[in-house]
């Protein structure tokens, strides 16, 4: 046993797969210990907030102020407020006013504003320009003047009795800064929020945990059924073999996802918990394990040590457990790994069809995908709602297949390069 494990850990592919999977498991275990938010709590009012650090604007007004004189602060402020459309419009005006196009660089805010200031004149009549457009430029010019002002903003509160605005005496100057650490309410959303306004990262970690559990339960159910049927049919033979092989062949050709759809639909939305879905997936995916185990058992059953065991009068159960199972164990472990990974994929596929676990209780990777699709996240460019989910699924299945390939090379020396 120790020797086998040593050998397994000499396989590069197995180690890579194992490390990736272990890292995923570690994150799934450690993250909830550090961050105790409920994964399904709806915190955002609105859909798909982009990733970033959210600082409470109200609290930051009351936080201690620090004056920092940074060189490009004003330029950055103006640049962030000047939209691309406005820049293009400014360029259009300047070109029309006779400035060579190659001298205008709309990504260079400072130069653009200087050119604008020097050349813009509301009185200038540009041939072919509509009145609406001229008014737009006048408004744009006024707002640019506002942007360029250097005065601070004054905070006023509404007097509850009179309704009039009263200054609180605080003036927020343009060089005032607050320290994020001193603002009472700051929330980091490294992956933004989803369509319901849930924190995607927290949800993703919880979903990965549930999906892994679904995969494990499905894999174990499928492997147990397949192993039992394969052992019985291979070792006993005769009528039992015929019967089991009939069922197995039947379920090989009837597509398993059709059964999966029919059973999940029959269970009904209300009763479909994560565990139920996992068991259903397990019940529809044992076929390949059963076939392979049967084939191996048939080649084993007439070996000398099995015959010897029979002659010694050992019982059927003993022979299966002591003389046959150890020889198929390595295959069964590999099959289990593949079943787990295909169980996770099956759950995701079912959820996209709307047949996944009940949506209100637990998140799963498939359900997150389903909601992202229903709310058109890919088309709207909200990558944080679906890409991390896809990457997680791909990492898990890829790592498990790598482990499987590594094991295969250890147990079947013929496959080694």
């Amino acid at each position: 046993m120790k020797h086998i494990i040593q050998q397994v850990f000499h396989s590069g592919k197995f180690i890579v797969g194992f490390v990736i999977l272990a890292a995923v498991l570690l994150i799934v275990i450690v993250y909830p210990l550090l961050i105790k938010d409920a994964p399904l709590a709806i915190i955002g009012q609105g859909t798909f907030f982009p990733p970033g650090t959210y600082v409470n604007a109200y609290d930051s007004l009351g936080s201690p102020k620090y004056i920092l004189n940074l060189e490009h602060a004003a330029a950055k402020r103006i640049a962030s407020k000047l939209s691309d459309d406005d820049r293009l419009a400014m360029q259009e005006w300047l070109v029309a006013a006779g400035i060579p196009e190659n001298e205008i660089d709309i990504s260079n805010t400072e130069q653009l504003l200087r050119q604008w200031e020097n050349h813009y004149d509301p009185q200038t009549n540009i041939a072919g320009m509509t009145n609406a457009k001229r008014n737009y430029y006048i408004r744009l010019n006024a707002s640019l003047k506002g942007l360029l002002s250097t005065e601070g903003a004054i905070i006023a509160v509404k007097n509850a009795d009179t309704g009039a605005l009263e200054e609180t005496g605080d003036v927020v100057a343009q060089s005032d800064y607050v320290n994020i650490g001193q603002v009472a309410n700051v929330r980091r959303l490294p992956l933004g929020t989803d369509n319901f306004g849930r924190d995607v990262l927290t949800e993703l970690v919880a979903a990965t945990r549930v999906s892994l559990q679904i995969g494990f339960v499905a894999g174990i159910v499928a492997t147990l059924i397949g192993l039992t049927l394969g052992l019985l049919s291979g070792y006993i033979g005769g009528l039992v073999d015929d019967g089991i092989m009939f069922i197995t062949n039947l379920f090989t050709v009837i597509p398993s996802f059709v059964l999966l759809i029919l059973i999940s639909f029959s269970i009904g939305q209300e009763k479909r918990g994560a565990v139920t879905v996992a068991v259903v997936i397990g019940f529809t995916s044992w076929v390949w394990t059963a076939r392979a185990v049967r084939a191996q058992v048939i080649s084993l059953r007439n070996r000398d040590h099995v015959n010897l065991s029979k002659l010694s009068g050992h019982s059927l159960v003993y022979i299966i457990f002591a003389d046959i199972l150890p020889y198929v164990a390595s295959y069964v472990v590999m099959a289990l790994i593949l079943q787990i990974s295909s169980g996770i994929l099956a759950e995701a596929g079912l959820s996209i069809l709307g047949l996944g676990p009940k949506t209100t209780e637990v998140p799963t990777l498939g359900l997150m995908m389903n909601w992202a699709m229903i709310y058109q996240a890919p088309v709207l460019g909200k990558w944080w709602a679906y890409l991390p989910v896809l990457v997680t699924i791909a990492l898990i299945t890829f790592s498990m297949n790598l482990m499987n390939t590594g094991l295969d090379q250890v147990f079947n020396p013929a496959l080694r390069d």
């Binding site: 062949n249 039947l250 090989t252 050709v253 009837i254 597509p255 398993s256 996802f257 059709v258 059964l259 759809i261 029919l262 059973i263 639909f265 029959s266 269970i267 009904g268 209300e270 009763k271 990974s341 994929l345 995701a348 596929g349 996209i352 069809l353 709307g354 047949l355 995908m369 699709m373 890919p378 088309v379 460019g381 990558w383 679906y386 896809l390 699924i393 791909a394 299945t397 890829f398 297949n401 790598l402 390939t405 496959l415």
Partner: protein
């Protein structure tokens, strides 16, 4: 010919048995669903009706129409009879349309999308796998990890990535539908072009997912065959490399054909989900609508049709295989 007939009859009887079992499963499973689907549509139709006896009358009329008040066995015989006449009843979610009508509109989209895509994917995958086994070296080092990664990638993931890159990012292809939403199906060039453009992304996403697994399988089969004794013997005899390769790949190809027969069910499953991602008007999308609308006649009929499609594809492949592989003839002689 006698031997082929035995093989053919054997496969045909197996096809019929699986078909009957699939048919029964298809009927039973959706009807075990808790809750009354008729009550669901009635409540939708009766919104704003205050007259209780009126609601009751509507309920009874629909129960009669869909036959949900009869015992299960009787429902089954009615169903068999109806299916034999091509009548799948009314769709519950798109009522006044029959299920046959809904499915008739979507089935050709699925057949024209999936079967070419799976066959093209199979051909490309096998060619790449055979090349990787033969050329080894750098080519193999690049093709294999990519194939392994792609074959582990979920079908919908591939679809979404193509959608985001080519549909949303580069805007080369439309992101949803089977044809432009502003068009009415007809035989004008504009419509046909729109269909072709909408076809590309679903097609290539299905091709890409089927390439990976096939390439891996073909590679290991070819490596196994390249090391076989007959190859060494042929080399000693001085037979040209090109000719040997021909033998090797023909031998490696045969298990791949059986592989296609066995995996076509899974592939169709993945492809149906890919259809959903692109809102392609095929069976996958119809199935989604059926699930959303709790529409069991529709679900039962579409899963039945999918099963029939997969079983028939399987049957055709096995018949072809029997003709291609001389060993089948030999085996039947015993």
């Amino acid at each position: 010919m006698e031997r082929y007939r035995k093989y053919f009859l054997n496969k045909l009887s197996w096809f019929l048995i699986t078909f009957v079992c699939a048919f029964i499963l298809n009927f039973i499973l959706p009807r075990l669903m808790p809750g009354d689907p008729v009550a669901a549509i009635v409540s939708r139709m009766a919104q704003g009706m205050s007259n209780a006896t009126g609601v009751q009358a509507i309920y009874q009329q629909y129960t009669e129409l869909f036959g949900t008040n009869k015992p299960l066995l009787q429902q089954f015989f009615i169903y068999v009879n109806n299916v034999l006449h091509g009548n799948f009843g009314f769709s519950l979610s798109q009522y006044t349309r029959t299920v046959a009508d809904v499915l008739g509109a979507s089935i050709w989209w699925t057949i024209c999308l999936q079967f070419p895509a799976i066959i093209v994917g199979w051909l490309i995958g096998n060619t790449l796998g055979a090349l990787a086994a033969y050329r080894k070296g750098g080519f193999d080092k690049i093709i294999m990890p990519i194939s392994i990664f792609v074959s582990n990638f979920p079908a919908f993931g591939m679809a979404i990535i193509l959608l985001v890159i080519f549909g949303v990012g580069l805007k080369w292809f439309p992101t949803s539908g089977g044809y432009g939403f502003d068009l009415i199906p007809n035989f004008s060039w504009k419509f046909i072009w729109s269909v072709i453009v909408h076809y590309q992304l679903p097609f290539w996403s299905i091709v890409l997912i089927s390439i990976g697994g096939q390439a891996i399988g073909m590679r290991s089969m070819s490596i196994y065959e390249l090391n076989a004794d007959y190859v060494k013997y042929a080399r000693f005899m001085g037979i040209k490399d090109r000719k040997i390769i021909g033998y090797v790949f023909r031998n490696a190809m045969l298990p791949q054909i059986t592989g296609l027969a066995l995996s076509i069910g899974t592939m169709v499953g993945g492809a149906l989900v890919a259809e959903i991602i692109f809102s392609y008007p095929g069976l996958g999308f119809t199935l989604l609508n059926g699930v959303m609308g709790q529409d069991y006649p529709l679900i039962s009929a579409s899963t039945l049709i999918i099963t029939v499609m997969v079983l028939s594809a399987n049957f055709i492949i096995e018949i072809l295989y029997g003709i291609i592989d001389p060993r089948i003839k030999a085996a039947q002689a015993d």
